[in-house]
Amino acid sequence: MKRKNRWYLLGLLPFVVMVALFQLVPIVSMLTGSVRPEDGAGMTFGYYARIFQSDYYLKAIQNSLLISVFSSVIGIVVGLACAYSVTRFAPRMRDRLIMVSNMTSNFAGVPLAFAYIILLGSNGVFTLLFKQWGWDVFAGFNLYSWSGLVLVYVYFQVPLALLLLYPSFYGIREQWKEAASLLGASHWQFWRTIGIPVLMPAVFGTLGILFANSMGAYATAYALVGSNFNLLAVRIGNLVSGDVVTEPQLGNALAVILGLSTLLAVYLNHKMTQRLHRFQPGSAERKVRSRRKWSRLKSPALKEEL
């Protein structure tokens, strides 16, 4: 190796340049931007201080956190139930179900918001139908409010949760159940002592992904509520590239906060995946294959919102 010439390293150059220009420089720029005073000299945490003293921005952060927590938890609960159900079906049917949820996970962002407006917006088909039939259960429901956002967010969280979780149900091997039953465990005891603990890392990992996914969700919220609802992502968008760009530095600081929260969530996912590997050591080859599957499953759903 030593004696071979290293000209081939040149092949890495375009990659290094592109990543530096469009990934590293922007991140650094955003970080410095969030602590640089308007006159351009020195360092200040003034923007952060303003954010944390402003009810308005605190509300945005709180709204985003609440919506993310709610939609992720609902997503994970429904996703878990669905993932378990999916594994109960014969492979053919299972693949079809997975395909449908994979397909609908493409249906996110602007088109999704639009579909919900058609269905449940103020002039939506169901809204009018319910009104006509006199069902007032839904009278209090407003698509353009908190509950409406949660509903729409859950829509793209559930298929994602399902896609991420169902492979781990296959990680619970039939022989564990058999071994447990021979050792005297009931069905429920097996799930309590083996099944659920084995699933836990995947559940928490997925929760991290779901949380990051909804924290960063912009398209859906933008299309659905525009700037009428105070969400962190929408707020940032308006500050930086809205019709009237007012305070870009504040936007930088908010973006740093948002980025930190999603990084943290993805880090959780990473830690949990490592945990999973402790359970399932395998040949390097198997790891590659499972990762390939993982990435393929993960990708279509993640793309729109992150």
Binding site: Y218, A223, G259, S295
Partner: protein
């Protein structure tokens, strides 16, 4: 030795049925809306029409947006392939020690939401030597980063599954130069995997809204941006566009799935 006969009980069945309804309802609604002449306060519209689809293709701005989407995606992906193929190859084959570092770089676009990335890009390129904000260049750069994870993983996995380092050694021992070995031995073998990641990247970029809207929304209208602007003007037309978009993505994912199966069959067992 034998799998127990799989027959789902009533609970999984009804749950899945509910979920399918929940997932397909918005799609169905959009579809009906796109074909409906008028749809209000009835379960199904009273009359149907194709005029919205017709209108879609007569709308010059739509065609323009479609064209812009297509060529921006295409350019970004070609650029990404040209940059990533050699880079991933070199790292996987010659510098495997850098892999964990690469993984970190590649996972960043996952972890940093589009809004945040866009904020950084706007600040970095709104002034100074590279003032490219609002142009296609900044968008292509952003697109490059968005597809980075898909391209990296796709290419890397294909390289590993065809055991590129061994293949390369064999080729070199048979007297092929390094470049020649890459072109004649490695490329044809990883091709299916590369096509898969290309298509996947394409569907990802085609559906991209956040970055596009924030970076160049005022100047360049891609199909997603256009859709968001038209939504409030004509619902029916917007539905027609949304459905066409969805069908396009659907077709793409079908191809992906077929390819994926083929690739997987090729490698495993």
């Amino acid at each position: 030795m034998q799998t127990p006969s799989k027959k789902a009980g009533w609970a999984p069945r009804s749950l899945m049925l509910l979920m399918m309804v929940y997932l397909l309802l918005p799609l169905l609604a959009t579809m009906i809306y796109a074909f409906a002449k008028e749809w209000q306060a009835t379960i199904l519209p009273e009359s149907w029409t194709l005029e919205w689809f017709g209108g879609m293709f007569q709308d010059a701005r739509f065609l323009d947006a479609l064209w812009k989407s297509l060529y921006l995606c295409a350019i970004s992906i070609v650029l990404s392939l040209a940059v990533m193929l050699p880079a991933v190859f070199i790292i996987t084959v010659y510098l495997p020690r850098l892999e964990s570092f690469m993984k970190g770089i590649v996972v960043l676009p996952y972890a940093v939401p589009g809004v945040v990335a866009a904020v950084g890009l706007i600040r970095a390129y709104s002034s100074g030597p590279m003032n490219i904000s609002g142009t296609a260049y900044i968008l292509i750069g952003a697109y490059f980063i968005i597809v980075l994870p898909y391209m990296y993983q796709g290419i890397r996995n294909s390289l590993l599954t065809v055991s590129a380092p061994e293949l390369l050694n064999a080729a070199e021992m048979l007297g092929a130069g390094r470049m020649r070995a890459f072109v004649t031995v490695i490329l044809p073998n990883i091709w299916p995997g590369v096509v898969t990641s290309t298509l996947l990247s394409f569907s990802v970029l085609f559906g991209e809204f956040v970055m596009t809207n924030m970076l160049v929304g005022g100047h360049i209208q891609t199909i997603q941006v256009y859709l968001s602007r038209r939504m409030n003007e004509s619902g029916h037309l917007a539905s027609a566009i949304a459905i066409s978009y969805f069908l396009f993505i659907l077709a793409l994912s079908m191809i992906l799935m077929k390819l994926g199966k083929k690739v997987n069959r090729g490698i495993s067992e």
